[in-house]
Amino acid sequence: MQNLNKIFANILTYLWSGWGGAASLFLLLALWEYGHLQMGSLILPSPKQSVTALFYAIAHEDAIYDIIITCKRAFYGFGAGVLLASASGILAGTSMTVSMALRPIVTFIMGVPPIAWIVLALMWFGDDDMTAAFTVFVVVFPIIFASAMQGMRMRSAELDEMADIYQLSLWQKFFHIHMPQIISYLFPAWIVALGMSWKIVVMAELLGTEHGIGAAMAMARVNIDTAATMGWILMIIFILLMIEYLFLEPIKRYVERWKML
């Protein structure tokens, strides 16, 4: 019961801390409105016009379908990236030699601009979900991989010795000793990768697909519909914020609660 109260209190505190963020966002909205008043609807539609355009699209033009398809592509690319890059990065981090050998390759892949991957992916996969998902995957992979590798490399040798003395199995050692240390490296990388995957999936759609938020934005561009464009931008940011603060951040707080003392 006491625990339940504590958890409930924590959730309330967390949600309440959102007001600070909300205040700065409202300030931004005010500035936006001011800009609109100065420049007019064609250059910068008001926040209200943008939201209205978005709602109109959702109500009349299957925009929900576009949103879902974009989410799906980002999720596939990001999910595959998180799983494979985290696992292989951790594995690579167990060996000094492997980490040294892979370092330049990671730098090399990270050096390729996302837009170049989109072009390649378009040629390889054509107008398909795979194009966007692949691009996301290939861009987030090295970021997460490098962090996972670093996290594993930087683990405490002292705690490893302790675990060896008490003869913990490989799995117990990984789960109870290594993982909590690696998480501190992995989480920031996951959050950065999540932000990137949204930007990239929209970019890939804008250039090469018929559906999705990016494609809808390409359509808005053709129609010179600035309000719809702004509406879509709001939508992208909204989804990103939801995932980060309602999903990733609470998980981070939970696994790193020992650091909060």
Binding site: E158, L159, E161, M162, D164, I165, Y166, Q167, L168, S169, Q172, H176, I177, P180, E256, W258, K259, L261
Partner: protein
């Protein structure tokens, strides 16, 4: 009878030059052997070799003890686990037993409230008690001590030493300990090995015949004075002054 025998020709972290050489350490159940020497003289290295944390390449390690525990200079608790979970960690390979953990925590002077906390919420002495409980809960027959109490104040330290000795008498525990504190060595050990030279080797072996419960402060003081006049000990503690 259960015993530990470390016979080492040499050992070095780098192939160029050995750090320790010609070592012969024997330990049987119910006895305490103390390694003393200046800091940097290779005491911890020897302890790790004996515990199997470092690999013996040139030499032999025979260890017939079943359950060994190790108290490090630092507590090496997991900051992300509660004290209770830290104590039961050593039971993980066998079976986690919370009742047993509570029992040992009580022996070590920890309350139930302490156990729910993270290590960072406890004082240094309390953390050392958690580490002690984690070590004793597996009911070791062999214990390695790497100056675990050096960071504690005088009274706490004496209390910890008594706690350890009482545990030891109950269980025929064998202890291999490292210390740079002569008084601690004289209070606890049956045999003192003085480490010196470069590469380090055993320069002197001292047997202490006095029964452990008869080692009064006067006795310790007297023995320490005697030891401090030995040329080997003077040399061992002075050798690295130039650093």
């Amino acid at each position: 009878m259960k015993s530990l025998h470390l016979k080492l020709e040499e050992f070095g972290y780098l192939p160029i030059k050995p750090n320790v050489q010609n070592i012969d350490i024997r330990l049987v159940a119910g006895r305490i052997v103390a390694l003393i020497g200046a800091s940097g003289s290779g005491k911890t290295t020897l302890l790790k070799l004996a515990a199997g944390l470092l690999e013996v390449n040139k030499g032999q390690l025979n260890n017939s003890f079943r359950h060994q525990a190790y108290l490090f200079q630092e507590t090496r608790l997991l900051p992300w686990k509660s004290c209770l979970d830290n104590i039961t960690l050593s039971l993980m390979p066998v079976k986690i037993n919370v009742d047993l953990a509570l029992q040992y925590a009580q022996i070590m002077g920890l309350t139930k409230e302490d156990l729910a906390k993270y290590p960072s919420e406890l004082s240094g002495g309390m953390r050392q008690r958690v580490a002690l409980a984690r070590a004793f809960i597996i009911q070791p027959d062999l214990l390695f001590l790497d100056e675990p109490f050096s960071g504690l104040d005088f009274t706490l330290r004496a209390e910890m030493q008594q706690l350890l000795l009482s545990q030891m008498l109950d269980k025929q525990l064998a202890i291999l300990m490292v210390t740079h504190d002569l008084n601690e060595a004289i209070l606890m050990a049956d045999e003192i090995l003085v480490l010196g030279g470069d590469p380090a080797h055993i320069v002197k072996r001292i047997m202490l015949e006095q029964a452990r419960d008869k080692r009064h402060p006067e006795y310790i003081f007297y023995e320490a004075q005697k030891l401090m006049k030995m040329p080997e000990i003077i040399a061992s503690f002075a050798i690295r002054e130039d650093r």
